[in-house]
């Protein structure tokens, strides 16, 4: 279920994020915003909160304590293939490698690695003396077992990333594991840095039920899963023996806080209010309407999620969007940037590229302006496509059929209320051109059941998919054939030539070469107008001044609490 519809997010290797190389003006603004916030905050703490000095780590450190964090969404399970699950599992599982803010891959459970000349065999050397919290060792055998577990279907999103490339894993000796691929896969390390690739105790995987492993995965991470009160909160307990923090962590050794109470507060106003009332030490997904206020009172961070942005996938096999002219007309007919800027109050950047987001290495920024707001052009294209008549409401008609677009979206699961507002803006904007858009919000349960995933269920659907590398193109546009179905292809667009370009990128010798082909594929997909970009997925944090060193990791924007500590 996770790789169907709009999946989520990851990060990856090289550029994206706050310090990404490819930034548009919007991102720059957002970035500048968050940077200045940090500066503000730091200054603010010193002055306001009675902390002795200003700046991180300069307040008097208090060991221990309970960190209360309020999060927007509660996934059905802790381990899984949805980014919302990675947010949780990141607290208890370590991965082989980690990614830094500037896109570098650094050691985590693996202390070093190398790749064979044909780029088909990767060898990872593991840190010594690392144990899972059930006491079993994190050795080469355990890593190999995890790869096999994923390959056997243990995680649909892992499958989506490396399933087509993974061949086998074997323990060479206790500290060395070898991963064999069917073909070179350039973004491998980037993919491995995501939360879905968290390493679990093979003993636990084998001896416990799927349900147990899903609800309380056992890893070697800084915390373990404690009580989960459904609909309320999950408690994470500190792992006192933690000795395997990634190289980019701010300290090695066990976490400073004793535990985390991670509560689920879906209501934006309540979640933000919990900071003001002191009920929360930190919150995720700062409501856009409160963003400015948050910046003046708390430490605020924003992460622009790499991968597929929040984009409209147009159904290319059924309905009006089977015609490329109609797809292009639709893209031209809305002032999407205005729709997004207004709905998100300028907090979340517009993304004109419908296939890859601006924080992703290999992002092609040239396609952003392929379809500017131009209703004359849209009208021309629709006339050309034969939608020449209009009914009394101004909706275009062809052969007695209205130009109606059923736009299905997962409200509150994939699309926030601000996103829904952007859609309402778009709905109005395209009216003069003669499009009638029906907005169809569906529940998380309906969405993930796959009830809306087939071509007869929508003309357009809104979704994102986090990925730290532009190989997301392969996930979303690998052809969907009987022999090799691809449920993540939400446009149902099959194009052998584009798939070939993407494959070339996946197996390129260098990241630069890979990104060149990824850029080509983005252009080709943009020419076909199969996906219309709207805005980027984001993660954000607002943290009380007395709590220091909470950070958003770079692969998917998960909050990291291992380094967090309170100050007096």
């Amino acid at each position: 279920m996770e790789n169907r519809q709009p999946a989520y997010q990851p990060p990856a290797d090289s550029t994206f994020r706050r310090r990404g190389r490819h930034r548009t003006a919007a991102v720059r603004t957002a970035l500048a915003g968050s940077a200045s916030v940090l500066a503000l905050l730091l200054a603010g703490c010193g002055a306001g909160a009675g902390v002795a000095g200003a700046g991180e780590g300069s307040g008097e450190k208090v060991e221990g304590g309970t960190l209360r964090y309020a999060h927007l969404q509660e996934p059905p399970c802790i381990y899984g293939g949805w980014v919302q699950q990675a947010f949780l599992s990141r607290q208890v599982l370590d991965s082989l490698v980690s990614q830094t803010d500037d896109g570098k891959i650094v050691p985590w459970l693996a202390k070093s690695w190398s790749v064979s000349d044909d780029q088909k065999t990767w060898t990872f050397k593991l840190k010594d003396g690392v144990k899972f919290t059930d006491g079993t060792p994190v050795d080469a055998k355990a890593i190999a077992d995890n790869f096999d577990y994923w390959a056997a279907g243990g995680n649909g999103t892992v499958q989506a990333h490396i399933g087509e490339y993974y061949k086998s894993a074997k323990a060479v000796d206790a500290g060395t594991v070898e991963i064999a691929l069917k073909a070179p896969f350039t973004p491998l390390l980037s993919a491995l840095s995501q939360g879905y690739f968290g390493i679990q105790s093979p003993t636990a995987l084998k001896e416990r039920t799927d349900q147990q492993n899903c609800e309380a995965p056992i890893g070697s991470g800084p915390f373990t899963v404690g009580a989960w009160k459904r609909g309320e909160s999950v408690t994470f307990e500190k792992n006192p023996a933690y000795n395997s923090a990634p190289e980019n962590a701010r300290h090695q050794g066990p976490a400073y806080v004793d535990n985390i109470v991670w509560s689920f507060v879906q209501d934006n106003t309540s979640r933000f209010g919990s900071l003001a009332s002191g009920e929360s030490d930190a919150i995720g997904e700062v409501p856009t309407v409160d963003f400015e206020a948050a910046k003046s009172q708390y430490q605020v961070q924003q992460y622009i999620t790499p991968g597929r942005p929040v984009t409209l996938s147009l159904n290319t096999v059924k309905g009006p969007f089977t015609d490329k002219l109609v797809r292009q007309a639709f893209a031209y007919s809305a002032d999407r940037k205005a729709a997004v800027d207004s709905a998100f109050l300028g907090v979340v950047p517009f993304e004109g590229n419908g296939t890859v987001s601006q924080s992703t290495p290999g992002y092609n920024k040239d396609v952003v302006d392929d379809y500017p707001f131009d209703q004359a052009k849209a009208n021309e294209l629709l006339d050309k496509a034969g939608w020449t008549e209009r009914n009394a409401d101004g909706v275009r008609v062809k052969d007695g059929k209205e130009l109606t677009i059923d736009l299905v979206f997962g409200l509150n699961s994939i699309v926030t209320t601000e996103g829904a507002t952007a859609l309402q803006n778009l709905q109005e904007q395209v009216k003069p051109v003669g499009f009638k858009v029906n907005l169809v919000p569906v529940t998380q349960a309906d969405l993930f059941s796959g009830a809306y995933s087939t071509p007869d269920k929508y003309d357009a659907t809104l979704g994102y998919w986090t990925s730290p590398h532009a190989g997301i193109l392969y996930i979303n546009f690998r052809q969907n054939t009987k022999a090799k179905p691809n449920y993540a292809n939400t446009t149902f667009y099959n194009n052998a030539a584009i798939e070939k370009t993407i494959l070339k990128a996946n197996s390129a010798k260098t990241t630069e070469e890979a990104n060149k082909y990824y850029a080509q594929a983005q252009q080709a997909l943009s020419d076909e107008a199969v996906a219309v970009g709207l805005y980027t997925q984001t993660s954000s944090l607002a943290v009380q001044p007395k709590l220091k060193d909470v950070w958003l990791e770079a692969s998917q924007g998960e909050p990291v609490f291992h380094d967090a500590y309170f100050t007096k």
Binding site: T269, P287, S342, Q424, L439
Partner: protein
């Protein structure tokens, strides 16, 4: 005491009212029902012909003027997409009133059948219906309604049915009580003694007398139903945005409560106004009917 007494001010020369002092005039006019009737009239017009009350389109966006506070151009302000809130409240009256009337109508319909059957149907039927109603009573209205909406999905129809079903048990029990009371009244016994058929007695005496108090209750119920329906919409179980249904407006404005108070206050006032007006009219009618009876 009808509202027609309100008109004289424009014509000071005519009629005896013209010479009475303003205070006496005010005393003579039942102010609350008059105001209530005006409010109800306003929203009825809004529901039937909203274009008479506003020239704007309730869905038209104006991104440059998003989140404008109430002012001359926009008496109720604008929402996050720059839509005129006054226009949206006016257009929202149709769905809100439809839900209020529909839900109350449905509830009364079910209640009449169950109540009359229970009141007249003999001990066994009464027992079955009454126990059934007691079970339904055990569930709060909102819970019943939410259950229904969850199963059948949010729409105007499901909201009507959900609120209707949720409120029906209360009415049913009241009607049963009325039927029982009337059934044992002196005039019904007299009618029986005079040899009228059972059916005639039921039709001419029991039914009209048992139903009379309902007129007032219905008016009260409409206001109540609008509040329930808005509550459902507020919880995200109502009509989907960008519908201007009042509960949906409240839900959409919730996020902005710290920044744009009018998004909550204006639709909230509309709900309060119609619920108060309907209730006040209900009380008035109830009193009149009691007066007529005595």
């Amino acid at each position: 005491m009808t509202t027609t007494t309100l008109t004289p001010k424009t014509n000071p020369a005519s009629g005896p009212q013209a010479r009475t002092s303003p205070a006496a005039w005010l005393r003579a006019v039942p102010l609350a029902p008059a105001v209530s009737a005006a409010v109800v009239l306003f929203f009825v017009i809004a529901a039937i012909a909203p274009q008479l009350l506003t020239h704007r389109d309730p869905f038209a966006i104006d991104l440059a003027n998003a989140l404008q506070p109430p002012g001359l151009a926009h008496p109720f302000g604008t929402d996050q997409s720059g839509r005129d809130l006054y226009t949206r409240v006016v257009y929202g009256a149709r769905e809100s009133l439809l839900i209020g009337l529909g839900a109350t109508g449905l509830a009364i319909g079910i209640a009449v059948i169950l109540g009359v059957a229970s009141g007249l149907g003999g001990r066994l039927l009464d027992g079955v219906v009454s126990r059934g109603l007691e079970v339904l009573f055990a569930f709060p209205v909102l819970l019943l309604a939410m259950l229904f909406v969850t199963i059948y999905g949010p729409s105007v129809t499901t909201q009507i049915v959900a609120v209707g079903l949720g409120t029906a048990p209360g009415y049913a029990r009241m009607i049963r009580g009325q039927v029982l009371a009337v059934r044992h009244s002196g005039y019904v016994e007299a009618a029986h003694a005079l040899g009228h058929s059972r059916w005639t007695v039921l039709r001419q005496h029991v039914f009209p007398n048992a139903m009379r108090p309902l007129v007032a209750v219905v008016t009260l119920g409409i206001g109540q139903s609008i509040v329930w329906a808005s509550g459902l919409a507020f919880l995200g179980l109502g009509v989907a945005p960008p519908s201007p249904e009042w509960g949906a407006l409240l839900d959409a404005g919730r996020m902005f409560i710290t920044r744009a108070w009018w998004l909550e206050v204006m639709p909230g006032l509309a709900i309060v106004a119609i619920a108060l007006a309907a209730t006040s009219l209900g009380h008035f009618i109830q009193k009149k009917l009691e007066g007529a009876q005595s």
